[in-house]
Amino acid sequence: MSAMSPGTTGPAKSRPRGERSRGVSVALHTALIVASLVSVFPVLFVVFVSLRGRDGWQEPTKFVGFELSNYTHILNNTEFLTWFGNSVIIALGATVLGVLVAATAGYAVSRMRFPGHRPLMWTFLVVQMFPMAVLIVPLYNILGRLELLDSYTGLILTYCSISVPFCAWMLKGYFDTIPAEIDEAGRVDGLSPFGTFWRLILPLARPGLAVTGFYSFITAWGEVAFATQFMSSEKHYTLAVGLQTFVGQQKAEWGLMTAAAVLITVPAGLVFFLAQKHLVAGLTAGGTKG
């Protein structure tokens, strides 16, 4: 920082700090309005098309013919609800398993210095770097041999390979924010290390657990590559696979696709907005403090 003598005065200011001229304000709001439009438009457009009936998507600029036929059709005549259920089961399974397994490890890495600490942190980071291309062929062959292809268990286990390192990483970041004095107090009062973790830290970390769980849920919810190959019968499709059947090489049922898109996005989006504030904090906290 430039060293200026205390006597020098800064450039003369006509406005107090924090105020801005009218022109700057207009520019600021214009920029934000344009950005908001870009970010909102595709979402609104999909909602709009979904309300236009089966062939409404072919006239994207007309504001006529609003009906709910797309929604009734996918709910009554397609497997949409089955896929929805499959997605929920699989994503929930992967999340619960991931958080359960990862919680203790995240705590150990956050609080204790033990041989193998650094390699483990590195593993968590490196595994997140794995492109699915590395694992998909071996996993496909292995699950094939165990006859777990096209089953919930197979896909849940597969998603655990994504969610476990991720959850451990996030939870480590969260545990770091809980003061270590709490652990010490627990130890002084005669709790074992496990007792401290189970009775003091886990209850305190509930928001962190929720956010971690939510994030791995969303990751599994939106996964395409594994689900497309591993789930071969229509009864077992997840939403990401099922949606592809609406718009394939031959047919293009964009009306149905958009209705399904809205139904998929609304619940995920609602929960997302509740959780998003904590999400980034958790993600970046793990990284900044090695």
């Binding site: 970010s39 204790m112 995920a268």
Partner: protein, 330 residues
């Protein structure tokens, strides 16, 4: 591990000779066993679900395994594997350019990653700086700008495909109103790439924006005030207060962004389509296509997978080293 023996006022244990390996192992076990017990589940899961498949993937990349010669069970008949070990053949074929277009795909993947992350970061930083001011409707803007993040990526990609549609897409409808001819957004190679980047930028900016906004708010306001007192211009304040203050956050989000974008499967696969060979594929989608389209080339796909992983690892190591060097210079 070092057994610390201090030279002044040695503790009672200092009298004991350096303990044997077994004793040291036991002592280390005694102090650390609960830590190890706590990480055990994760280690088991990672070994079974990541370590073993990874090892097998590496092994497959040294063989000529494909759909025809891999062991499989049809009905009650079990057909044993007949693929053979071919050493570094696969790597040689890919790296020497004999097979496919590794280098052109690599170039496009790097361009894709660099342009996406650059745009994510700069747009995210710009919006975060705007949002970090006191103004009306601030929380409304924030919600609207985060919206793309709340949409699952595969849903968003399909929606964009509809928008980009050549015949009935809304983008071309607008262009027609302006008097421009229809543009084949997803047909032409260059436009395909541009469209893919646009979709991915749309998807990724909210994360960067929120992360950077968090970073901005953690910079103490006194720093800005002090700089202003010293007569720093807004640009100087941005350059010498804001950017250094953001460094920890930026370091992490850029690393994450590069990894995610390099491996971004959904956008390319669902937007450009599963159709025949296309130059707009990145390494990950190409590897996927090798494994699951036509005659399934498991070995080739594994080779690509391992190459992608090695590239990312090298990048991560250099990146972290660079960050820590910057840190120590300061």
């Amino acid at each position: 591990m070092t057994t610390a023996v201090s030279e002044t006022g040695s503790p009672p244990e200092g009298q004991v000779r350096r303990p044997g390996l077994l004793t040291r192992a036991r002592r280390s076990f005694d102090t650390h066993w609960y830590a190890w017990a706590m990480v055990l589940p994760v280690v088991v899961v990672l070994t079974v679900l990541v370590g073993y498949p990874l090892g097998r993937g590496i092994y497959l990349s040294f063989t000529d395994a494909n759909e025809a010669n891999i062991g499989r069970t049809i009905g009650v008949n079990h057909i044993p594997s007949t693929y053979e070990f071919v050493g570094l053949d696969n790597y040689w074929k890919v790296l020497s350019g004999q097979e496919g277009h590794f280098y052109s795909r690599l170039t496009w993947t790097v361009v894709w990653t660099a342009s996406c992350v650059f745009l994510h970061y700069t747009i995210g930083l710009g919006l975060a700086l705007l949002l970090n001011r006191r103004m009306r409707f601030r929380s409304l803007y924030r919600v609207l700008l985060i919206l793309p993040w709340a949409v699952p990526a595969f849903v968003a990609t399909f929606s964009w495909r509809l928008i980009f549609n050549e015949k009935y897409g809304v983008l071309n409808a607008f262009l027609a109103k302006l008097g421009a001819g229809p543009v084949d957004w997803l047909g032409d190679e260059t436009l395909q790439k541009l469209s893919a980047v646009a979709v991915n930028v749309w998807l990724g900016v909210p994360f960067m924006m929120v992360a950077i906004l968090g970073g901005l708010q953690s910079i103490p306001a006194e720093l800005h005030e002090a700089a202003e007192m010293d007569g720093a211009t807004p640009w100087q304040r941005f350059r010498h207060v804001t950017l250094p203050g953001l460094r920890p956050v930026s370091g992490t989000v850029i690393l994450l962004g590069v990894i995610w974008t390099f491996n971004m499967f959904q956008v390319i696969y669902l937007l450009i389509g599963q159709g025949a060979s296309s130059e707009s594929e990145i390494l990950v989608t190409y590897s996927y296509r090798l494994a699951f389209q036509g005659v399934r080339d498991y070995a080739g796909s594994a080779t690509y997978g391992i190459l992608i992983l090695s590239l990312l690892l090298v990048f991560a190591v250099f990146y972290r080293r660079m960050l820590s060097r910057q840190e120590s210079v300061r």
